[in-house]
């Protein structure tokens, strides 16, 4: 079983600053951590390995200092860590990031791909599912429990607003996980010592045979015009009474608002 976990190095602060000219995140001078959701994905991968055997690889795309995040995952017990790093990757939006990670995973091979449900800096929750789309493989988002892992199938619970779904999928598959799935283990001393010495495999755009027009800022269809906090709108009405009354009332309201 080959398991690849995508991790991201994110700024360790709730106050993410924005460069007003480029409308992108300012990462300079802010200490970095592994995106907390990704630690749950690493733990899930290690638990799959413990139950079903196999090899766990962590993968990230980023500048050379992203190596630190990868070493942290080695100290938790992953088998190897791979860094996709190249000036051509700079400025990637979620589409270009997903493309790059997809090329990386294609290079490495994977039966199960794990991601955190989203990163705490961008909060888009897009990259995981986008990678699956590039592969044309199934994906299951918001996984809260891995029920069963077979040689060619997996059964998981997917968190929903009103409970959970039980979903079965063929392999290969991509999963994004939520916090509820597990408690990430702390590193071990032997792991930390191994992490210090571990070789990190570095791959460039050329190594991945990636198409240059799909990479970095040039390959990013997203143009950020402005970033702002949405205004809280107090303009709401709560209907009470029986369901029949509510429906009639709702239709009236919508007609009055000229919505229907």
């Amino acid at each position: 079983m080959k398991i690849v976990v995508c991790v991201k190095q994110v700024p360790d602060t709730a106050e993410v600053r924005i460069n007003p000219e480029t409308n992108t995140l300012v990462r300079d001078g802010v200490p970095s951590i592994i995106n907390p959701y990704d630690l749950h994905a690493v733990e899930a991968a290690l638990q799959i390995r413990e139950a079903a055997g196999g090899e766990v690889t962590t993968l990230t795309m980023g500048p050379p200092q992203a190596e630190n995040a990868l070493r942290e995952t080695v100290s938790m017990g992953v088998d190897r860590a791979v860094l996709l790093t190249d000036r051509l990757f700079a400025g990637s939006d979620t589409w270009a990031t997903a493309y790059t990670l997809y090329k990386g995973i294609e290079h490495l091979g994977a039966d199960i791909i794990l991601c955190g449900k989203q990163a705490i800096d961008g909060d888009t929750a897009q990259v995981g599912p986008e990678i699956a789309e590039f592969f044309g493989m199934p994906h299951i988002a918001y996984v809260r429990k891995i029920v069963e892992v077979g040689n060619d199938r997996i059964v998981v619970q997917r968190l929903m607003d009103d409970g959970f779904d039980v979903v079965e999928s063929s392999l290969p598959v991509l999963l994004t996980v939520v916090r509820e799935i597990n408690v990430p283990r702390l590193p071990s001393l032997k792991g930390k010592m191994a992490a210090k010495k571990a070789g990190i495999l570095k791959l460039s755009a050329a190594d991945l045979k990636a198409e240059e027009e799909n990479l970095g800022l040039k390959g990013s269809p997203t143009q950020v015009k402005n970033i702002f906090a949405p205004e809280a709108k107090a303009n709401r009405k709560v209907l009470s009474g029986s369901m029949e009354d509510n429906v009639a009332q709702l239709v009236n309201e919508l007609v009055e608002m000229k919505c229907i």
Partner: protein, 385 residues
């Protein structure tokens, strides 16, 4: 203060601190209240490899020494002495095997101990043998290829929770102190049961029970060292473990000082945070200074132990007595700085003060430690003549 720790020692400190802050601080009040054994924390410590710190690499450990263990115990003690007592008593119980065990005994027991799969306890104390180990009444009689153990050990840390017990029993009463021997006994051996679990003032997360041996038969190979070496095994074990108790004192005192400083900055009286008052500042200054002095001594003695020095009784007794008397003073002063709040269970310092008291009592009372130091002075003076 910078103690010029190696990169690995800093790594050990940081990991122990992370475990203390993330896994122990959130549960310490509940463990104190219920007196439940901290199995979850032990599991985390096992996963982190900390149980293997001082065990040689050939037995699955990390092959580190006394200073590394001191550093880890200090960090755990900063969060909870009950947990750190459980962890340190495991080392205490392991020393007889590590220092005097045969290759077979080491191969059999150390790998599981290093992995944290089996906890260990050390059994010396009895109802009539506390400071005076010569009063030991538990006996071991050789019968064919087996020893038959009879007697009761009391106040044994990790009793019931541990899987492996190293105990001292009398094999030949006519020989006095040279008639004691050390044995390793596994939980589950017929004739070996546990008595009452003690209800303690402090370190309530740690288990303290009686060990009851009623015609408990163990294989002859479970003798540690030779017959008659029991008290040597016990004394060398305690020489090695005393710095650990000293580091418990440093840790709990540092934890109490941290709380007191935090509180004194927030607590406003007469229109100012109380930390701006000189009376409070001077108390905190004395606390901080005495902690640093104790830490310097405990680290220095740990390094002495690691140097392979043969006679460490005096210095390890000094580290224990100085650091633990200091811990009692500093935790009491932390409660005083925090006033009524410090006395309440909403804050952790009253627990730290209750916990600290045991450090002056167990693994040789501080009066016995002073005897050890005094006797060493007499011996040294006699040598000079």
């Amino acid at each position: 203060m910078d103690y010029f720790l190696t990169e690995e020692q800093v790594m050990i400190r940081d990991l122990a601190r992370q475990i203390a802050e993330e896994k122990i601080v959130p549960v310490r009040a509940e463990l104190d209240e219920t007196g439940e054994f901290p199995w979850d924390v032990m599991k985390t410590l096992a996963q982190s490899d900390l149980f293997g710190l001082f065990i040689p690499e050939e037995y699955g450990g990390l092959g580190k020494g006394c200073l590394e263990l001191t550093i880890a115990v200090e960090e755990l003690s900063r969060a909870c002495l009950g947990v750190s007592t459980t962890f340190a008593a495991n080392a205490l119980g392991t020393y007889p095997i590590l220092l005097f065990g045969s290759d077979e005994q080491k191969k059999k027991f150390l790998p599981d101990i290093a992995a944290g799969k089996r906890l260990v306890a050390f059994g010396l104390t009895e109802a009539n043998a506390g400071s005076d180990a010569g009063g030991t009444q538990t006996t071991a009689r050789l019968d064919g290829n087996e020893y038959v153990i009879n007697g009761t050990k009391q106040w044994i840390t990790n009793g019931g929770a541990a899987e492996v017990y190293t105990i001292i029993a009398i094999t030949d009463r006519s020989k006095g102190p040279r008639g004691a021997s050390a044995f390793v006994i596994e939980k589950g051996t017929p004739g070996f049961t546990f008595g009452k679990k003690e209800n303690k003032m402090g370190i309530r997360a740690s288990a303290t029970t009686e060990l009851i041996f009623d015609n408990c038969r163990i294989p002859k190979e479970n003798l540690i060292g030779k017959e008659g070496m029991g008290f040597v095994v016990a004394m060398k074990t305690l020489d090695n473990s005393r710095t650990g108790v000293g580091s418990q004192g440093v840790g709990v005192a540092q934890g109490a000082l941290d709380e007191a400083v935090k509180f004194a900055r927030q607590r406003v009286q007469f229109g100012h945070p109380v930390i701006t008052f000189q009376a409070v500042q001077h108390m905190l200054a004395d606390m901080a200074t005495s902690i640093e002095a104790a830490r310097a001594l405990v680290y220095a003695v740990s390094r002495l132990v690691d140097s392979g020095s043969k006679d460490i009784s005096k210095e390890s007794a000094m580290a224990k007595v100085f650091a633990t008397d200091m811990a009692m003073r500093v935790t009491t002063d932390a409660v005083q700085v925090m006033g009524g709040s410090g006395y309440m269970k909403e804050y952790p310092v009253e627990k730290m003060m209750r916990d600290a008291k045991i450090l002056q009592i167990y693994e040789g009372t501080n009066q016995i430690q002073r005897n050890v130091i005094g006797q060493a002075l007499i011996k040294e003076a006699a040598r000079l003549k």
